[in-house]
Symmetry: none
Subunit: 221 residues, 2 copies
DNA sequence: GGTTTTCTTAAATATTTCTTAAGATAAATT
DNA sequence: AATTTATCTTAAGAAATATTTAAGAAAACC
């Protein structure tokens, strides 16, 4: 399995290279966005890992650039912990999955295999989390296999939760995601959206309130 | 059943090869457009799968080239996620069916069998989806077996929907399909076409509105 | 060239979704 | 227990989005 790793940090890159090599991946490691683009053009990889915090080019640029050129291999994006609100935009820009640093190499390998499985046509783009599931390609949401209809903001909210289950999402991060660039929310819009989403999910406890901080999605019992 | 698979990606190709072999297809797998053309010339296949994203030659070229040479076996085309607007042009160029990646191998096999059935004269080129059906060769449309008369754009819209039922088609993708290369639509033409199509279909709910995203055709109840 | 059909545009209407605000409830603090 | 603070709930008005209608422009047909 050919894998392209785009990562500027020496320590992290080395760890990933070693870890994935031991797990049957053939890793090609480049350290700059420029090198990434020229490597993608050669189109000989099955999957790629792209760190957003590159020194020379914005990682999102790289992503858009290679997608525009028709490269359609699965790409997993690495982000720093505090860039999670960008996640939705990244997925729209063509990322297939993402992980926040620091991460576990076992999970990384598992996610890569999942991406490859999905790509080969055996599975859909469904992401599950306990009774909740979303299909990022069709924007459908399910509870216990039954489809529920969500508004745009409700879906974006749920997508954020499902993408990082059990993670506590701070209120300001969620608000940044929900509000457009022009319009700043200075009311309790977030709470109302959470309330409506909870109602549609059926089980209120699925979205847990962390008082003074934010919310998180519970998946396990 | 002899099948020619034209696919450059190792992972995807292998998945298809294995999946179809298990389903009684004899798969010959080539990885380049050049190899595809020379293999097609030998004319010993019953059906073919052609990936558009080939490294050496444009897939559409391959398609036109082999059709020009009189090869008339059914060809199913594989396209990337965001090329769905090319679909109609592909069908015009000689493709018999298409699927977007990623896909389900079961569906792939079903479609291939449908193509072969049609070819052997037992069935027409009808594609069904609940009460709706279209005949891609005669460009006729039916609701509950009764024929309805559609304008060109209405038919193309319905064909897009029927080809990928239950998939949410983003507005911009549909607009790209409906508008010619020269003329850009900057009005609500799309909505008007959807409205007229709905009226002719009789049942408004068949075409579902996904607010802020696009439309989709519902087939199941 | 004239007729007919289809397509686009635009404005009026309808619908859904979002935001706001205010009172109710619950948790933390004193 | 009373007070403060944060969150939940509800409902109504505002904003965004979609539908419908109709008329003129463009294309297709004869």
């Amino acid at each position: 399995m050919q894998l392209l790793l785009v990562e500027d940090n020496q320590t992290l890159g080395q760890a990933v290279e070693i870890g994935l090599s031991q797990r049957q991946f053939m890793v090609t490691w480049v350290r700059t966005g420029a090198a990434a683009i020229s490597n993608f053009n050669r189109q000989e990889y099955d999957v790629a890992i792209l760190d957003l915090g590159l020194p020379d080019i914005d990682g999102e640029r790289v992503l858009q650039s290679i997608r525009k050129k028709g490269v359609d291999i699965p790409i997993l994006v690495l982000t720093a912990r505090d860039q999670t609100s960008d996640v939705i935009h990244l997925l729209d820009a063509g990322a297939d999955d993402f992980m926040t640093k620091p991460f576990d190499v076992n999970e990384l390998a598992a996610r890569l295999r999942a991406l490859l499985r999905r790509r080969s046509g055996y599975a859909s783009a469904k992401i599950e989390c306990g009774p909740v599931a979303i299909d990022t390609s069709s924007r459908e949401a399910f509870v216990n296999g039954r489809e529920i209809t969500l508004s745009r903001k409700e879906y974006e909210l749920l997508q954020l939760f499902v993408m990082q289950p059990m993670k506590v999402h701070p209120r300001d991060k969620i608000e940044a995601l929900l509000s457009s660039d022009t319009h700043v929310v200075e009311s309790n819009a977030l709470e109302v959206h959470v309330h409506n989403l909870r109602k549609k999910l059926g089980q209120r406890e699925l979205i847990e309130t962390i008082r003074g901080v934010g919310y998180r999605l519970r998946c396990k019992d």
